[in-house]
Symmetry: C2
Subunit: 399 residues, 2 copies
C-alpha cells in the first residue's frame, strides 16, 4: 500500500487495472450518446445507387429526334418509384433523393421542362451528370466513417439509419455501485433525526458517473451498524458492478472504517491518501480485478476525487481517452490562499475573444456544495502555488 | 399563408404559438439534465445545524480548571452522533460533517489533542468558531439557489439531496412525433426494394429532438399509399404530442403532398418556404394550437431547418431561451460559393488562444449526411455573401 502518493501516479495505478469492456448490440433508437466499440465502416455505397438531386425528369441522353424532345416513359408524371431502363430520347419523372432509372444521363429540373401528352420538352442542353447524385457520393463502401470510440450523435444516428444498421454495436456501459459510509448518514429521502445527516454524496456520485456513461445500479448507505453492515453491502455491490465508489470514512479517526472495511473484505489496497487539496483523503483498492475508489465525505473533496480518479476509470472502461488534456485559461477571479499541496478549484470556463476564461465558483470550502453547481472546469494549481490574481493564467481540466 | 419568408420571422411566428409546458414532479434519481420549472429556494439552512469541519473534539469553552484540560463527555471516543450539551470545560468527540453538540465553541482537530482517561488535553488556545461550519454556511433558508430554467447537473443533484428533496419539480418534456413522407421511403430497419430509400431523416430528427429535451413518441413513415395513409398517421400523432415534425414532400412537385396533407387535415398554414439555403423548402402550420413543422427531405436541409425552426420551439416549451446568441469565430476553411440567399454551413467550433475557431465539415451538399457528424456549430452566412477564405470571420450558432 502506497501512502500519500502523487495523484497522477494514483490514477495510473487504477488505469493499469482496466480492460475496456466488450461490445453489446443495441437498437439504433437507444444509441444516442453511446460509444462505438469498433470502427464504423460503410457497408455499402451511400447512396447505393445514383439519385436525383432535384425534382424533375431523368433523361436517357439525346435521341434521334429533335433536341430536347423526349418520350416520357410510363405514361405518368406521377412515376416516383424505380423507373424503366431509359434509352436515348427517353425520359422519366423523378423526385429529389429518389433513385434514378438505369440509363439516366442527367436530370432536368421540373421548372425547366414542359409536358405535352407523353412528350417532355426542354430547352436545356444535355450535360451528363447534371443534377445526378452518383452512387457513393456521401460514403464509399468500406471506408471508415468514424473510428472506434466515437460517441453516437444525431448525425451519426442518421448515417447508421441510412446504412440500415438497426442494431448498433457499442461499448457496454460500466456498472457502478455507490456506498456512502458513516454512522450518521441516512439516505436523502429519509427525514434525519438529530445527529443524522442526509446523504448528498451518493446522489452526487451517481449523477457524475451517469454523466460519464456509467450505469449506476445502486446508491447505498451503510449507517448505524457500521462495519458489519457495510461489509455485507459492499460485497453485494461488488458482485454486480465493474467499479465501486465508497464515500466517507477515509480519514484516520476511530469511525473512519473505509480502510479496514476494504482490507477485511479481501481487497488489495493500492494507495491511501493523495497529495491534493481537497481530496487528500482518497484511496483505492482492488477486489477480483474490480477497482473500488474510496472518496472523502466532504462534498467538494468527493467531487474532486471523483474527477481525478474515478472518471478516468469510467472512460477507460468505455475505451475512450481517460483523461482530458489540460487547457490554459485566464482566471477572472482572485483566490487568496497560497502554498500547500496541489490544489483543485471548481470553476466555470467559457470561450472569450482571447481564448478560455475561467471563473472561480463561489463556495470553495471542501465542506460546501455550492461550488459544484454549474461546474465545468477543474482549475489545477501546482503545489506551493502563489495567490491567484484576476487576469492570471491558470490550467484547468474540462469536465 | 406567407410564402418564402425571412427565417427569423418564420421562427417568431412559431414561437408566438408556444406556451411553456407545466411542471411534473419526478424522482431525484431521474432529474439529471431536466429543467427546473421554478426557482429553487433553500427550504432550510444548509447545513441545518453547525457541523464539525474536521475530525476531533468539540470544546465547550474554557472551564474553571487548567487551560486546555477538558472533561470528555459520554466516556467514549467513539461518540459520533449528536452529543450532549457542552458546558465550559467539557469536550466531546465529533466527526467531519457531523453535527456539533449544543454549546460548542470551537473544534480542535484530533491530532492536536490527547486523551488521558476521561480528560482531553490540548495545547491549542480557544478560538471561537475555529473548525466550526456554522448553520447556513452553504445555503441560507429562503435564498434562491438557482433560478427557474436551470438544467439539473450533478452538483445541483447533490444540493437537492442535501435538502431532502426527493421529488423534483421540472418542466414537462415536450412530446414530439416524426412523420417521414414520400412514397419511396421505408423505415430504416426494412430492406428497401429497388426504388425505395431507407428513412434516415426520421431517426435524425428523433435524435436531435431527444438531445433538445423532447420525448419522441413515434417515428413514422407514410409511404406507398401516399396522402390517405399520411393523413391517418398525422392525425394519430397529433393527438399525443405537442409538436409534429414532417419531413419530405415539401417542394412543389406532384408528389410533394405535405402542404395539401396539412391543409386537408385542418391545419392552418403559417408559412411555406423560407429564405435560407439549405432548407428553403420548409414550412409550418398549426392544428389545435399544436405546431407542425414541415422539413425538407434532403438531410442537411432537414437538419438546418430543424435547428432554425424546431429546436427553438422545443426550448420554448421547456421555458428556456429559445435561440442561442450568435458567436463570432475565425473560419479555418474556405467555401467557394457566393451570393444567393442566407446560407447555413455545418461546422465544428472549438475555442483556441484567440477565441472561437470553426472548421467547415466535409460534405456540405444538402443531399449529403456527412457534414452532420460531429456537427456543433451552424455557420450563418448573410444573403449575397462573398466566398469564405481561411481566416475570415464568420458568425455561428452553437448547437
Amino acid at each position: 500500500m502506497l501512502i500519500d502518493i502523487n495523484v497522477d501516479k494514483a490514477r495510473e495505478s487504477l488505469l493499469d487495472l482496466v480492460v475496456p469492456l466488450g461490445e453489446e448490440t443495441i437498437y439504433l433508437e437507444e444509441a444516442l450518446g453511446r460509444i462505438l466499440g469498433s470502427d464504423l465502416r460503410a457497408p455499402a455505397d451511400l447512396p447505393p445507387v445514383a439519385q436525383a438531386a432535384v425534382d424533375g425528369y431523368a433523361l436517357g441522353g439525346e435521341g434521334s429526334g429533335a433536341r430536347g424532345d423526349y418520350a416520357l416513359q410510363d405514361g405518368s408524371r406521377r412515376q416516383a418509384t424505380f423507373g424503366p431502363v431509359l434509352g436515348p430520347g427517353q425520359a422519366a419523372a423523378v423526385v429529389t433523393g429518389g433513385p434514378l432509372p438505369t440509363g439516366t444521363v442527367e436530370v432536368v429540373a421540373r421548372e425547366h421542362a414542359r409536358i405535352e401528352g407523353n412528350r417532355l420538352l426542354t430547352a436545356a442542353l444535355v450535360t451528363p451528370g447534371r443534377n445526378v447524385k452518383p452512387a457513393g457520393e456521401d460514403f464509399r463502401a468500406g471506408e471508415v466513417v468514424v473510428p472506434a470510440g466515437t460517441r453516437v450523435d444525431p448525425g451519426l444516428t442518421a448515417v447508421l439509419a441510412a446504412f440500415g444498421q438497426d442494431g448498433v454495436p457499442v461499448r457496454r456501459c460500466p456498472r457502478v455501485g455507490v456506498l456512502s459510509l458513516g454512522r450518521e448518514i441516512v439516505p436523502h429521502r429519509y427525514a434525519p433525526s438529530a445527529g443524522q445527516v442526509r446523504d448528498a454524496n451518493g446522489p452526487l456520485l451517481a449523477a457524475l458517473a451517469t454523466r460519464d456513461g456509467a450505469r449506476v445500479i445502486a446508491v447505498e448507505t451503510a449507517g448505524g451498524d457500521g462495519l458489519p453492515e457495510a461489509r455485507v453491502k459492499l460485497r453485494r455491490l461488488w458482485e454486480h458492478v465493474e467499479m465501486v465508489l465508497t464515500v466517507g470514512g477515509v480519514a484516520s479517526g476511530p469511525d473512519d472504517y473505509a480502510l479496514s472495511l476494504l482490507r477485511e473484505s479481501g481487497a488489495r489496497v493500492l494507495f491511501w491518501g493523495v497529495g491534493i487539496k481537497p481530496g487528500h483523503h482518497s484511496g483505492a483498492a482492488v477486489w477480483e480485478d474490480r477497482p473500488v475508489i474510496a472518496l472523502s465525505g466532504n462534498p467538494a473533496a468527493c467531487a474532486v476525487g471523483y474527477q481525478l480518479l474515478a472518471a478516468p476509470v469510467l472512460r477507460a472502461f468505455q475505451g475512450i481517452t481517460p483523461f482530458p488534456a489540460p487547457v490554459s485559461a485566464v482566471c477572472n477571479d482572485s483566490f487568496p490562499k497560497q502554498g500547500g499541496p496541489r490544489r483543485f478549484l471548481r470553476g466555470y470556463a467559457a470561450c472569450g475573444p482571447e481564448g478560455w476564461r475561467v471563473s472561480l465558483l463561489p463556495g470553495q470550502k471542501s465542506s460546501m456544495l455550492r461550488s459544484l453547481i454549474n461546474w465545468n472546469a477543474l482549475v489545477d494549481l501546482p503545489a506551493g502555488h502563489q495567490p491567484v490574481e484576476p487576469g492570471s493564467r491558470v490550467s484547468f481540466l474540462p469536465l
